[in-house]
Amino acid sequence: MMQSLLSILIWLPIVGGFAVLALGTHRAKGARWLALAVAIVTFIVSIQLLTGYDAAAGTMQFIEQHRWIAAINANYHLGVDGISVALIVLTTFVTVLVILGAWDSVHDKVNQYLAAFLVLEGLMVGVFCALDALLFYVFFEGMLIPMFIIIGIWGGPRRVYATLKFFLYTFFGSIFMLVGLIYLYTQSNSWELSQLAALKLTLEQQSWLFFAFLIAFAVKVPMWPVHTWLPDAHVEAPTGGSVILAAIMLKIGGYGFLRFSLPITPDASQHFAWLLIALSLVAVIYVGFVALVQEDMKKLIAYSSVSHMGFVTLGIFISLALVRVGGNKDAAYLGVSGAMVQMISHGFVSGAMFSCVGVIYDRMHTRMIKDYGGVVNTMPWYAAFVVLFAMANCGLPGTSGFVGEFMVILASFQSNFWIAALAAFTLIIGAAYTLWLVKRVIWGDVTNDHVAKLKDINAREALVLGTFAAATLLFGIWPAPLTHLMDASIKHIVDQLLIVKVG
């Protein structure tokens, strides 16, 4: 089983998803239990990955390689390093919570809804373990399909607009990547990531490729200014869609930078690092201010996501400046590790925040901040969770939200005082938009009859939020296991950056 663990992790949820689909729309209860069982089994299998992975080595492990399309030398080539393992386990973990979270809140075509999530899970795992560029691309594009369906069918009133926008953005981005990959294939006659990384390329070639990848991944992250699809997609998506979108799909952008841009185009990445750093800081500050004035809770959290993801791109690209200009390897490790920790943590925190919105949306059917007020009076346990996740969102030490930002700010300082200062501005603006949201929704006296009638969270909701809370606190109090898991792999990526490919 260990030899084909990754294939199991990809195909088990997909096959399970089709099985759920086959149950038909009338057996909702059966569909829920089957979907939950599949998700839990997948999660348990992914734990095998965690325990079986040799973190000290940091190499690609659990390798599977089969000929896929002989004519173009494409392989079904899977393998994981520490970064992938962390993201895969995050995926299987969050999927379980999403299926639990949807238990009572989705009633329409339940089997299709759950099937879409399971298929999505398999495809996302595929993205994180594909070592063949073409295979990666297939998963990368394929995963959009269930997400379109989720938003398009179970979404809100403006779902068509949101889906179209999402589609245009992501398709626009990935087309460039495909062109780039095909170009690389013509140069190397291979789709193997390791071979593409070893390929010599001039700075001009690298620059073209860098921007081709940048467009694809920047849309995914999303980076300013290609972020405007995200708030709309979140607002219209059902709760589960938002959770997966924020917790996992955004991470694929950051993952892409680490897997493609840095190894394949290191010189261009260094050349344009200033641009990426600047865009990241714009995301942190500009988008922070935009988040402040949102009137829709989901939009606010969506903008907050963009702002927090700015730390991911900042951490990745500051490391280029650090290692290549200053030769400061320790700081570069810190920056990339910070970016990775931020990705994992944001998976928990944003997933939890969207789940929290889902909880009250199910009760009140509104996401508008002004419709709430004084929720703590009727839902004290819920309020306690919201305050905890809000604090994690502000980066309070002791929660996972602090760790990544802290590491990236520390790393940035080693490059430039002002980059660190601008990044650290998130301490203020992040707290401002988050706490103002909490003040208006949670605190205060009961503002209207609807709030007065609210019922506190039930056991199932408590389980979902409690699990998120446990993860948030665990990695806040003790992030060392997480960084240890990824440490050797990150070192490998950073060390590779020192290889100059030009010429």
């Binding site: 004519a71 173009i72 959009l144 399909i145 379109f148 369906i149 398009g152 068509v160 889906t163 179209l164 926008k165 589609f167 095909i182 200014p225 405007t228 699809w229 500009y286 201010f289 935009v290 402040l292 949102q294 390897k329 320790d330 490790y333 590790s337 004084g374 703590v376 009076n377 604090m391 502000c394 309070l396 030490p397 002791g398 602090f402 590491m407 700010i409 520390l410 940035s412 300082f413 080693q414 005082f417 002002w418 660190a420 200062a421 650290a424 301490l427 203020i428 707290a431 401002a432 706490l435 103002w436 003040k439 949670i442 605190w443 205060g444 060392a480 960084t483 240890h484 440490d487 990150i490």
Partner: protein, 676 residues
């Protein structure tokens, strides 16, 4: 001999265990269970803290410095959670746990009728844990942990009565203003890591020469000394937490929280974290004259100007709050002249007498059925003798009556600033005048408070026959100002006992410890002063001689002047107060408006940020990116491809299939091209 790590762990964790039980299982344990378990936890910490202090001072124990676990390790950079317990830490542990214990006991009485009883105990126990983690830390990371954790609990407690709009505004304000400080603090920590490659205190302080000649280019072309940049950044953090001008605005508003936490958090412990931090970092601050001058200006300004505001306040708690600001300014000023031990000494004495004054104010508030306006008080001394006497003791300690605790510490600060001014520049001279005149101000507002509350004639009416029960606590307003349902009465024993327990150190702690802390070697290597002549033992001849000498010095006579003026106005001739108010109207107005900090901040930062956010959103995101770039190209595509009808049909499957088809087509094409 060394300290037992298990004991240290118990000291830190016992309050946490209490907090968790009282918070999460609040329905199961009930009211009695909640206060029993939290008080037991804090009492255990307190007893063990005394034991640790005893071991360090008399038992010959060495400084304890060990890591508990590795928090993070990346490349060559690691961060730990661990304890550094030296005499400075031990003193802080004793102060924190003792005041916390008193406040816990007091809370039984103060919050007796509140619905959030268990929640309150959970919070204050959690606070004690966080504060202990802060003072016991052996590295910058954990310091920041504790720093933010006390901020969180402060946030929760200021907004404890979450139905009050003012409370939930005040708690957000407190958090955000503190975040401005934390912004600097975090950059300071980043600087420490950059130059020392470590976050560990011992490592950093042992290698302070690593900063020699190092510079940071803050503004292009001008190199700043790295030590100055780091210290000023760290001190900005202290300005937030210890409420120094211009980041002081949150502390008066924090009085929205229940009185016990005003005593514990916003007077005795949390707000002194900044002072503690700078004292702990003394090896770094000693490297930068610039940073110390900055500290001095801020501290002296806070000491004098916020004290002035205290004169015009009518809310009893707010007077004490402005007094706290002013006293924190004194401590900061002491730091600014390298008199770290004087600052920490004042921190300790202040913790006792200011907690006493706050709890005394709380006792008055209970008696007055949650009236806080001193204009409706007066003559309370005959109703509540214990509160009255302990309030006098606290006031004498605060105003620096020779012999009382505050005398020794405040006198030491003024003396240190004076010495600095003798061979310093205008900054030191300015600071000396601020701290000297501040003594007069302190005495004036303190005795004003005493007279308005306890002396003179009663300015309230007791309406017998009203059915106003004990039902509501300060989360509800009283009915009419100046009307009470029944006579004021002395508070219950759980309230008066802590007052008495705090009154004792307020009298004697200064005399007992001044020799060791200021003129002896109590702090040892915990505090580092580069030019040691500042607080030399040259003229110390015991606590009694110091007190007698104090009677001949300007600070005493200034305090006496303040006392006389307050006595004359508020005891004998109250009409003068109104005359002075109209005669000095511009000044009175400036003080009443608190130098207009709040409206300015509100207009510039709060409304400015919202306007900016709205501009960026509507102008940038929606205006340019969406409308022009996205929808523009979308409609162009739609026109070209003629897919408008598809779009409107809304079938998402269509898009999905179109995508798959496109993908297949592309891959097929590729296969075909390359396959040939």
């Amino acid at each position: 001999m060394s300290l037992n790590p298990t004991i240290l762990l118990i000291i830190a964790l016992a309050p946490l265990v209490g907090a968790i039980i009282a918070g999460i299982f609040r329905h199961q344990v009930g009211r009695v269970g909640a206060h029993t378990v939290t008080i037991a936890g804090v009492a255990l910490s307190c007893v063990l803290s005394f034991y640790v202090l005893y071991q360090l001072v008399w038992g010959g124990a060495q400084t304890y410095n060990e890591n508990l676990y590795t928090w993070l390790q990346v490349g060559g950079i690691d961060a730990h959670v661990g304890f550094l317990v030296d005499r400075l830490t031990a003193m802080m542990m004793v102060v924190v746990t003792f005041v916390s214990l008193m406040v816990h006991v007091y809370t039984i009485g103060y919050m007796a009728e509140d619905d959030g009883y268990q929640r309150f105990f959970s919070y204050i126990a959690l606070f004690t844990f966080s504060m202990l983690m802060l003072v016991m830390s052996n590295n910058f990371l954990q310091l920041f942990f504790g720093w933010e954790a006390v901020g969180l609990v402060s946030y929760l407690l200021i907004g404890f009565w979450f139905k009050r709009p003012t409370a939930v505004f005040a708690n957000m304000k407190a958090f955000l203003v503190n975040r401005v400080g934390d912004f600097g603090f975090l950059l300071g920590i980043a600087g420490v890591l950059y130059f020392f490659h470590s976050l560990d205190y011992a490592t950093v302080f042992a290698h302070t020469d690593a900063l020699n000649g190092k510079t940071i280019e803050i503004v292009s072309g001008s190199a700043w000394s790295a030590a100055s940049v780091i210290c000023i950044c760290l001190f900005i953090g202290a300005m937030g937490k210890s409420a120094q001008v211009p980041l002081h605005v949150w502390l008066p508003d924090s009085m929205e929280g229940p009185t016990p936490i005003s005593a514990l958090i916003h007077a005795a412990t949390m707000v002194t974290a900044g002072i503690f931090m700078v004292a702990r970092m003394s090896p770094l601050f000693e490297l930068s004259e610039t940073a110390l001058s900055f500290v001095l200006v801020i501290g002296a300004t806070t000491a004098f100007f916020t004290g002035l505001i205290g004169i015009v306040q009518n809310d009893i708690k707010r007077v004490v709050a402005y007094s706290t600001l002013s006293q924190l300014g004194y401590m900061t000023a002491a730091l600014g002249v390298s008199a770290y031990s004087a600052a920490v000494f004042h921190l300790m004495t202040h913790a006792f007498f200011k907690a006493l004054l706050f709890l005394g104010a709380g006792s008055v508030i209970i008696a007055m059925h949650h009236e806080q306006d001193m204009r409706y008080m007066g003559g309370l001394r005959k109703y509540m003798p214990i509160t009255f006497i302990t309030a006098w003791i606290g006031t004498l300690a605060l105003t620096g009556m020779p012999g009382f605790a505050g005398f020794y510490s405040k006198d030491a600060i003024i003396e240190a600033v004076k010495e600095a001014s003798e061979h310093g520049g205008w900054i030191q001279h300015y600071a000396y005048w601020c701290v000297l005149l501040g003594v007069f101000v302190t005495a004036f507002y303190s005795f004003r408070l005493l007279y308005l509350t306890f002396h003179g004639k009663e300015r309230f009416v007791v309406d017998h026959g009203h059915g106003h029960g004990h039902g509501d606590h300060d989360d509800h307003g009283h009915q009419e100002p100046g009307h009470l349902a029944h006579e004021p009465h002395e508070s219950p024993a759980v309230v008066t006992w802590p007052l008495m327990a705090l009154a004792i150190p307020s009298i004697v702690i200064g005399a007992l410890t001044v020799g060791a802390m200021l003129y002896g070697d109590y702090f040892g290597s915990a505090i580092h002063v580069a030019h040691a002549e500042g607080e030399g033992a040259h003229d110390f001849h015991g606590w009694l001689a110091m007190a007698l000498h104090g009677l001949t010095q300007p600070p005493f006579w200034l305090a006496f002047g303040g006392f006389l003026l307050a006595t004359y106005i508020y005891l004998f001739n109250p009409s003068i107060a109104d005359k002075a108010k109209s005669a000095l109207h511009p000044i009175w107005n400036m003080l009443d408006k608190k130098y207009w900090f709040d409206p300015i901040y509100q207009a510039v930062f709060a409304r400015g940020s919202i306007a900016l956010g709205r501009g960026l959103w509507k102008g940038g995101d929606v205006g340019v990116i969406d409308n022009v770039l996205i929808d523009g190209s979308a409609s162009a595509v739609a026109r070209v491809a003629g897919v408008v009808r598809w779009v409107q049909s809304g079938y998402l499957y269509t898009y999905a299939f179109a995508m798959i088809l496109g993908l297949v087509f592309l891959l097929g094409g590729l296969w075909w091209v390359v396959g040939k």
